[in-house]
């Protein structure tokens, strides 16, 4: 697979949707139950999308789609997302 970055890179793309910085939120993987801050996830950039994978089991946690100026997130692989504190 081509190179990847990590959840730190999602701060910009997700700032369109969230009033808080979701990269500092805890995310629970629906596949393996691992819980980690989103910044620790693996991020694969594709044209107009980011595939976000669990760093423990590699399952897809979410997909961030950029459709022109609109941003859509498929959250199907997340059990939950929780802000810290």
């Amino acid at each position: 697979m081509a190179g990847h970055v990590d959840g730190n890179a999602l701060a910009g793309p997700l700032s369109e949707l969230f009033a808080f910085d979701p990269t500092t939120a805890s995310a629970r993987c629906a596949s393996c139950g691992d819980t980690a801050v989103l910044a620790r996830a693996m991020v694969y950039e594709k044209p107009h999308s980011f595939i976000v994978r669990c760093s423990a089991c590699d399952a897809v946690l979410m997909v961030v789609l950029q459709k022109g100026d609109a941003t859509e997130i498929d959250l199907g692989g997340l059990a939950w997302l929780r802000t810290l504190g």
């Binding site: 190179g3 970055v5 730190n8 910009g12």
Partner: protein, 233 residues
């Protein structure tokens, strides 16, 4: 937001730093980045993330960019941008890979290549504050000419120790042979796991993953090892 390039400065043969003015910037903490969006004449857009080497309340920021020969965006920022040019940026971004002077305790920084940029912001933030947290930096570069922020890192401020690791060529008489950072380098030059330092690792993805795995094998608490991958193999 619109940034105006104030000045450019060569850092290495393949990299340069850009000082940009951003009216309305609300300040940033050390470790944060911006997304830079370039738009071609035909409307094609490319967005890339660049860390800030600067922090604090000011609206004058510093980026430092390494040129990837086949890259879409980095050759433009390294070779073509001139003072007075404008860049579209978004930020400050990222609240996790950050260090603030209010945090107590030892800090271990480990950089590969351009991964020094956000760590330099942390070093400068500490120097500008009353923080007495001891800092160590292990900086892996290809050769002695490949060093960003050379003047500041060759005469570090008190409380900062810098160790260099060369992967392709060393200065003459250098004791360590060339090579990638190993577990032995980490145990010889980094704060030990027993001190429970906050660790920040940044650089090319392969470098970050190898170093982070080696740190955990040396007993560092994975929760204390923060990583930022810049991409690439």
């Amino acid at each position: 937001m619109t940034a105006t390039v104030a000045s450019v400065h060569p850092e290495t043969a393949s990299a340069r730093s850009l000082t940009i003015d951003v009216p309305g910037w609300r300040g940033n903490i050390a470790g944060q980045h911006v997304d830079v969006r370039l738009t071609a004449e035909d409307g094609y857009q490319a967005v890339r993330s660049y860390s800030l080497a600067s922090s604090g309340p000011g609206a004058t920021l510093q980026l430092a960019v390494d040129r990837l020969p086949d890259g879409e965006v980095s050759p433009y920022l390294v070779d073509d941008v001139l003072p007075g040019d404008q860049l579209e940026i978004r930020g400050p971004l990222g609240g996790w890979f950050v260090w603030e002077p209010s945090l107590a305790g030892s800090v271990q920084l480990i950089a590969g290549g351009s991964g020094i940029v956000p760590l330099m912001a942390m070093i400068r933030s500490r120097a500008a504050s009353a923080s007495t947290s001891p800092f160590r930096l292990l900086y892996s570069v290809r050769n002695p000419d490949d060093v960003f922020f050379r003047a500041e890192l060759e005469t570090p401020t008190p409380g900062l120790e810098v160790t260099w690791a060369y992967t392709r060529a060393t200065p003459t008489g250098w004791p360590r042979p060339t090579g990638r950072v190993t577990g032995d380098d980490l145990s010889a030059h980094c704060f030990p796991a027993s001190e429970n330092p906050a660790v920040f690792v940044c650089g090319p993805t392969g470098f970050v993953e190898a170093v982070a795995n080696a740190l955990v094998l040396l007993g560092h608490d994975p929760a204390r090892v923060k990583t930022e991958r810049f991409g690439g193999a």
